[in-house]
């Protein structure tokens, strides 16, 4: 038989609470206790509200370019809910909800986009890396972080987030290959939101799923409805078990949608149909949970009204904290360069507004004594 089948494979897709409100009892029963579900819903609502406010802050000149997270809240939140507090969370910039769940003060995110590095000065106890602006670079760091815990014999793992666009970058493939071949406990979570600025997903990946890319590296993989927090939690539990107990990486493709523009500097109406956006608005991860909770009798309009009031107050307080921080000292960007500032850089720092002559003031006092 000269030609045999070298490999047959399949990609599982997990959906528990679908867009029509259908709930799969077999997979979903006891997956998220009601009290937790209410808390997750509240967190998504807060994140959404802050996202709306951030957009307005940018439009009114109170903040720089900001990438909205709207519509993608369930992915990072579901992941952060399953992870331990000391597992590394290595994100890019559409994972606000998961970061807040971990304990990142939300004003830190605002500060970052307000052009202030202090937004990245994160309590090390939170095990969070700062927002990664260059696309698709942070997955290698997650692999290194998880490698370190393997090296030390710890049970900590890492979970890294990236978009469908990032899977085109070379670093993505290098991270996957390292993790699979060196047995590193890292969860790769692709938020497939269908758009990399104006470029649609098919330009990044012409295979039917992004998830199948992991197969080429010998890594376990799954696709889930990324707008279904139950499905995300289910997949994360599988991933975390494999990573923590067996030291293997795992790939999750969370299929979701970027409801907003890429950033406030973008205008998605130039390149995508409103109909498509409207279709995905119907699949909103937050509305889905709310409807389900109402159906279950654990949520009602008065609770919703109270929550909205609370969210309004909390987000106002967050914005106030971000805006009331004192202006940064312009010494900061010199002082933060090295553990100890080199003498030459220190001279630049001290004389940056007072002298130009080789940034050495003594030269200015000398001209009269020069030979000329």
């Amino acid at each position: 038989m000269p030609i045999t089948n070298a490999l047959t494979t399949e990609i599982q897709r997990v959906s528990i609470l679908d867009e029509h409100g259908q709930f799969d009892e077999t997979l979903g029963k006891d997956l998220i206790p009601n009290d937790d579900l209410i808390r997750l819903y509240e967190e998504m609502s807060l994140c959404r509200k802050l996202d709306e406010i951030a957009f307005k802050l940018q439009r009114s000149g109170r903040m720089g370019t900001y990438p909205q997270n709207m519509g993608q809240e369930a992915n990072s939140l579901g992941a952060a809910y399953v992870l331990n507090q000391d597992d590394w969370l290595v994100t890019c910039y559409r994972e606000n909800c998961g970061l807040f769940h971990r304990g990142l003060p939300p004003e830190k995110i605002l500060l970052h986009w307000m052009g202030d590095e202090r937004g990245n000065n994160i309590d090390p106890e939170l095990c969070i890396t700062p927002i990664a602006v260059p696309i698709g670079t942070q997955m290698l760091h997650a692999t290194g972080l998880a490698w370190a815990s393997k090296y030390r014999g710890e049970k900590r793992i890492a979970c890294t987030f990236f978009g469908d666009g990032a899977t085109s970058e070379g670093d993505f493939h290098e991270a996957m290959n390292f993790a699979a071949n060196l047995d590193i406990p890292v969860v790769f979570f692709c938020q497939n939101n269908h758009w990399a600025i104006s470029v649609p997903g098919r330009i990044q990946c012409s295979a039917p799923t992004v998830a199948q890319r992991a197969i080429a590296y010998g890594m376990d993989t799954i696709q889930c409805d990324g707008n279904d927090i139950f499905a995300v939690v289910y997949c994360m539990r599988k991933a975390v078990e494999l990573a923590r107990e067996h030291g293997r990486p795992f790939f999750i493709e969370g299929v979701t949608y970027r409801l907003g523009d890429h950033t406030t500097a973008d205008d998605a109406r130039r390149y995508r149909d409103e109909e498509e956006v409207e279709l995905w608005r119907q699949r909103d991860p937050i509305i889905r949970v709310r409807d389900y909770m109402k159906q279950m009798g654990i949520w009602d309009d008065s609770k919703e009204a109270a929550l909205m009031e609370q969210v309004e107050a909390e987000t106002a307080a967050i914005v106030k904290r971000a805006e009331s921080i004192e202006a940064p000292d312009s010494d900061d960007f010199f002082n933060a360069m090295y553990a100890e500032i080199p003498p030459d850089l220190d001279l630049q720092r001290r004389t940056r507004r007072t002298s130009s002559i080789g940034q050495d003031p003594s030269q200015i006092e000398r001209p009269q004594t020069s030979s000329r």
Partner: protein, 322 residues
């Protein structure tokens, strides 16, 4: 003649070269239907089709690496790297291959491509969207490096790059993308790579600069009572040392202004060349007003980093008094 911004002048140059030469094709992230994040390639996909204005996967190494292949096959690719800070993944392809192919094959394979890159700070952008890495590529033998400071120059220099037989990096100072307009001829014209422009003539001092900083230099000169000559290098490799030499021999004093960090910046090379060629004509040490040896701060402090009129004026005064 039309009154155009830098963005429009570049767009016009691309249109004219694409109409004239079907070997010219554009590739990059978001350059097609979206017209580029700065709209430099606006409407070009509509006009020339998806096969000539190509939205690529999000992969800078891929964009440059495939452009090298396209160029070796005889086409004239014009890849765009969306921001200065995203050159990182493409560095290997630019420096290990584009810059070396001609000499590696002793002329058997050449790489005539033009990499367009928005560059520099001052637009309140996020991290890695405001850097000035020109010297990294000036220091890589085998590349030509160009940075216009006006719409007129941008059109003529871009056409020169597109027709050049060797790899060019065309840095577009984003701070002045739309800062002012200038009369730009409809007809095509070429400004030679390697020729500086004397922006204004003067007798007492020379300022050498390039890119968006040229605008800050002009403002400082207008405020000063001194007679100052401003030279915009326009092309950074090869660069017009003859123009700098002639000016400094005349004035005896020189300030070099650039956004990139001071240490190891291109100003150091200019200063060293002035020492080689003009030593006996100098009345004062050559000065540099540059970015500091720090990472470009996030935008709350970016104006503290960028050379501004105040710092340039200080240098002018101190140098004149020396």
């Amino acid at each position: 003649m039309a009154n155009l911004t830098l963005v429009q002048a570049i767009n016009l140059a691309l249109v004219q070269e694409m109409e004239k030469d079907d070997r010219v094709l554009l590739l990059g992230e978001d350059i097609g239907i979206n017209g580029g994040v700065f709209r430099v390639t606006e409407d070009l996909q509509k006009r020339f089709g998806e096969h000539r204005v190509v939205d690529t996967p999000l992969a800078e190494s891929g964009i440059i690496g495939t452009s090298i292949g396209l160029a070796m096959a005889g086409l004239r690719p014009v890849p765009e790297i969306q921001f200065d800070g995203f050159l990182g993944p493409a560095y290997d392809q630019i420096c290990s291959h584009a810059a070396r192919m001609r000499t590696r094959t002793r002329g058997g394979l050449t790489v005539p491509l033009t990499i367009r890159v928005p560059v520099g700070g001052g637009i309140h952008a996020p991290e890695l969207h405001s850097d000035s890495p020109e010297n990294i590529y000036i220091h890589q033998p085998g590349l030509k490096v160009v940075m216009p400071s006006s719409p007129y120059d941008a059109k003529g220099l871009l056409i020169a790059c597109l027709r050049d037989p060797d790899p060019c990096i065309f840095f577009e100072p984003k701070r002045i993308y739309r800062a002012f307009r200038e009369e730009v001829p409809e007809d095509e014209y070429v400004l030679p790579i390697g020729k500086a422009r004397t922006v204004c003539e003067g007798e007492e001092m020379t300022i050498v600069s390039w890119g968006a900083s040229v605008v800050q230099c002009m403002q400082a000169i207008e405020k000063s009572e001194k007679s100052i000559e401003l030279i915009d290098l326009r092309t950074l490799y090869p660069f017009d040392m003859d123009a700098v030499e002639a000016s400094v021999k005349k004035t005896g004093r020189c300030v070099i202004v650039h956004e990139a960090p001071k240490t190891g910046g291109f100003g150091a090379e200019i200063a060293a060349r002035i020492m080689e060629r003009c030593f006996l004509h100098l009345e004062a040490p050559v000065q540099r007003v540059a970015g500091f040896d720090t990472i470009m701060p996030y935008y709350k402090l970016e104006l503290e980093y960028l050379p501004d009129t105040e710092r340039i004026s200080l240098a002018i005064d101190e140098l004149a008094a020396y």
